[in-house]
């Protein structure tokens, strides 16, 4: 259905075409999600669809999902950010330390963490552009550096975010901090019934904002242009370095934003928090249709990819599938989902079928 577009090679208008393809591709990607959800409903109908279960499932993945959105922005420019897990870890440690040692209100902690994340992203961006280090290598280095800083700051000791005051009850700020995602603590509880679980809200909000950024702004078009064909983009007047630095800063900013969520989810900032999250983030983006070669993908797709990953884990868990088997199934699903994402899937399938029938027709 989308086959005609892929062969087009004209560099400048290609971005627009590719965007259309990518959106169609991500629509096709819903098939994977539909399959997972259907599997969940068939095997564990009531349990799976219960609001508490879905909140748990999406909430558990929310911080990684937010990382995946940032990762998508970087991947769209044909870059990659391996340091997102370390950035999240450092931001979560910073948030817990600001809370425990400085007793700052969470509304102040959040922007500080985002600032901290943006600064880390700026380092990645500068290394990948002005120093002309490949993003893979640059962010591999900072993965190590940021983790080292995290561990040095914390002296390898986790920092609990449930701080008890002199009377044994939680301090006011520590109590508010729990709203960032400690299970069982919801925003607007009371006014909106059971309330809204902040990590889920934050994840959805980040997806909506970033999708709008990509599809509705000039910056978004530049992101696709840089990833689609960097030389063409530069020749047509796009400041490619600035775009690349911007996506790294945004990616860091989002990692900083996810930091307090991760700390609150475990009610504790662990010096190892976020280790290997970069793999989940990249997986969500790729399952969602992003091409590691750049220029193709969308935040909506990544959102779907993240849902596939977490709901699959949830469904397998609810069905008490053994841990070993889960690993195999999850890996296979990644392959299947990526194949389903391929925009020319139907065309090549039809081509294949035609060839087979032609051959059998000739031989008979």
């Amino acid at each position: 259905m989308t086959g005609e577009v892929t062969g087009v090679a004209a560099p400048v208008q290609v971005a627009g075409w590719r965007r259309a393809v990518s959106i169609l591709g991500s629509l096709q990607g819903y098939v994977g999600l539909v399959l997972v959800v259907a599997f969940g409903i068939v095997t564990r109908g009531d349990t799976f669809l219960s609001q508490a279960n879905l909140t748990n499932a999406v909430g558990a993945f929310a911080s990684r999902g937010i990382l995946a959105v940032g990762e998508t922005l970087v991947i769209l420019t044909a870059g990659i950010d391996l340091s997102v897990g370390s950035m999240l870890g450092l931001a979560s440690m910073v948030s817990a330390m600001l809370l425990v040692n400085q007793d700052l209100p969470p509304v102040v902690i959040l922007p500080l963490c985002m600032l901290c994340g943006a600064a880390m992203g700026l380092v990645n961006g500068i290394g990948s552009t002005w120093l002309r280090i490949q993003p893979f290598v640059m962010t591999l280095a900072t993965l190590s550096v940021f983790r080292g800083i995290d561990r040095q700051l914390s002296d390898n000791v986790s920092v609990g975010t449930q701080v008890a005051g002199p009377n044994g009850a939680l301090t006011g700020h520590s109590n508010t901090f729990q709203l960032f995602g400690t299970p069982g603590h919801n925003l607007f509880a009371g006014t909106l019934g059971a309330g809204v679980y902040y990590p889920v809200l934050a994840f959805v909000l980040v997806c909506v904002l970033c999708q709008l950024l990509l599809s509705q702004t000039r910056f978004g078009r530049h992101v696709y242009a840089v990833g689609g064909n960097e030389t063409a983009a530069r020749l047509s007047g796009v400041n490619t370095d600035r775009v690349k630095i911007a996506v790294f800063v945004l990616c860091g900013l989002l990692a900083g934003f996810a930091g307090p969520i991760d700390a609150a989810y475990s009610a504790s900032a662990d010096p190892l928090a976020g280790t290997s999250y970069e793999l989940d983030a990249i997986a969500a983006a790729v399952i969602g249709g992003a091409s590691l070669a750049g220029g193709r993908g969308s935040v909506v797709g990544t959102f779907v990819g993240a849902l596939i990953l977490t709901l699959l884990d949830n469904v397998l868990g609810l069905n008490a599938v053994s841990d070993n088997l889960q690993l195999i199934i999850k890996g296979c699903i990644v392959v299947v989902a990526v194949v389903l994402q391929r925009p020319d899937l139907l065309r090549s399938l039809a081509h294949f079928v035609r060839r087979i029938t032609a051959r059998t027709g000739r031989s008979s």
């Binding site: 290598v137 591999l140 390898n156």
Partner: protein, 333 residues
């Protein structure tokens, strides 16, 4: 195109240089926290190779070892070497210490087999070696000090039996399935709950020692409609992760949680017992005090026990406050 061809090797060299410095920096960052000398006038130099600084239990061990080593004025503890969970790194660190001709060596092996040859090399160089917690496959060391994971699991199982006199359903949150402590704690726990046939281990899953994984998995159990009376977690972070999931479902009062590790840190197990989140936990010994004493004896050519297994102390709501005070080393950091 030509400029690109020239630029690429340069960019590559730069990238490699930066990645290297990055890694080295992170390495320094995690080892440089030790004060450079524990006693400049020391006559003996002691080195400690830690398998992974970043585990909370091992971070406590490091802090305590530094504290107890400082009590012996004739001993200088070198900055603790962190193998970062890599046996290969740890082998090379031990070999470096042998080259430095340290007077004694303490090793917390990451894995038994890979460290065996390195320990044998130290032994050949006549350096006394104290092995902590995980064994090596050679007898050529001076002393082994450790806890007993089977006993830790068994004591947790006995606590479960006493908490559930009329039987009930139990869930188990396991560490990484192939880790020896997981295997031993699991076996000990299962053996102990056999005492009451009405206790059923209905669910068990790998939460990889991690709090967030435990939260997610316990949430799934509760969504499944599992009627759980007790959850045994092989370490405290997993027990507390399970507790978070239960409290989000409003079931934290009806499910009892048992942990293991018993670290005296603000978000550790002892505090959680004090606050009523855990029904109990068990202090798995860090062995730091005993290791320091053993090294001191070895340096003065005194006899030490070849193998000592330390007790597992049960933390109950009654003794939690006292145990916290006794094991709290935060002021020495």
């Amino acid at each position: 195109m030509r400029t690109r061809a020239i630029a690429r090797p340069r960019a590559l060299a730069l990238a490699v240089a930066l990645a290297t410095t990055g890694t080295v920096l992170a390495g320094c960052a995690s080892t440089a926290q030790t004060p450079a000398s524990a006693g400049k006038s020391g006559h003996f130099v002691v080195a400690y190779s830690q398998s992974n600084n970043a585990e909370p239990y091992r971070a406590q061990l490091n802090i305590q070892l530094k504290y107890f080593m400082e009590k012996y004025k004739d001993v200088e503890l070198l900055p603790i070497a962190d193998a970062k969970q890599s046996s290969a790194t740890q082998v090379s660190q031990v070999q470096q210490f042998i080259q430095r001709k340290v007077d004694a060596l303490i090793v917390s092996p990451n894995e038994p087999a890979p460290l065996t040859s390195a320990v044998a090399q130290a032994c050949k160089a006549k350096i006394p070696v104290v092995i902590l917690d995980r064994s090596v496959n050679t007898d050529c060391y001076s002393a082994f000090i450790g806890g007993d994971n089977y006993v830790a699991g068994k004591k947790a199982g006995q606590l479960a039996v006493s908490l559930l006199p009329h039987g009930g359903n139990v869930g188990e949150l396991q560490g990484i399935l192939s880790d020896q402590p997981q295997i031993d704690r699991d076996k000990g726990f299962r053996d102990a709950i056999k005492a009451n046939p009405k206790i059923h281990l209905v669910v068990h899953r790998e939460a990889k020692w991690l709090k967030d994984d435990a939260t997610r998995i316990t949430g799934q159990w509760l969504a499944q409609g599992q009627k759980l009376d007790l959850v045994y977690a092989q370490n405290d972070p997993m027990a507390l992760g399970g507790y978070l999931a239960a409290s989000s479902a409003g079931k934290q009062k009806s499910i009892k949680f048992i942990g293991t590790d018993g670290l005296a840190i603000p978000d550790g197990g002892i505090r959680a017992v004090q606050q009523g989140q855990l029904a109990g936990t068990f202090i798995y010994p860090t062995c730091a005090k005993e290791a320091a004493a053993t090294v001191e004896k070895l340096l003065h050519h005194q006899k030490v026990a070849k193998k000592s297994t330390l007790d597992i102390v049960a933390v109950t709501p009654a003794n939690a406050a006292a145990l916290y005070k006794q094991n709290d080393f935060s002021r020495y950091r």
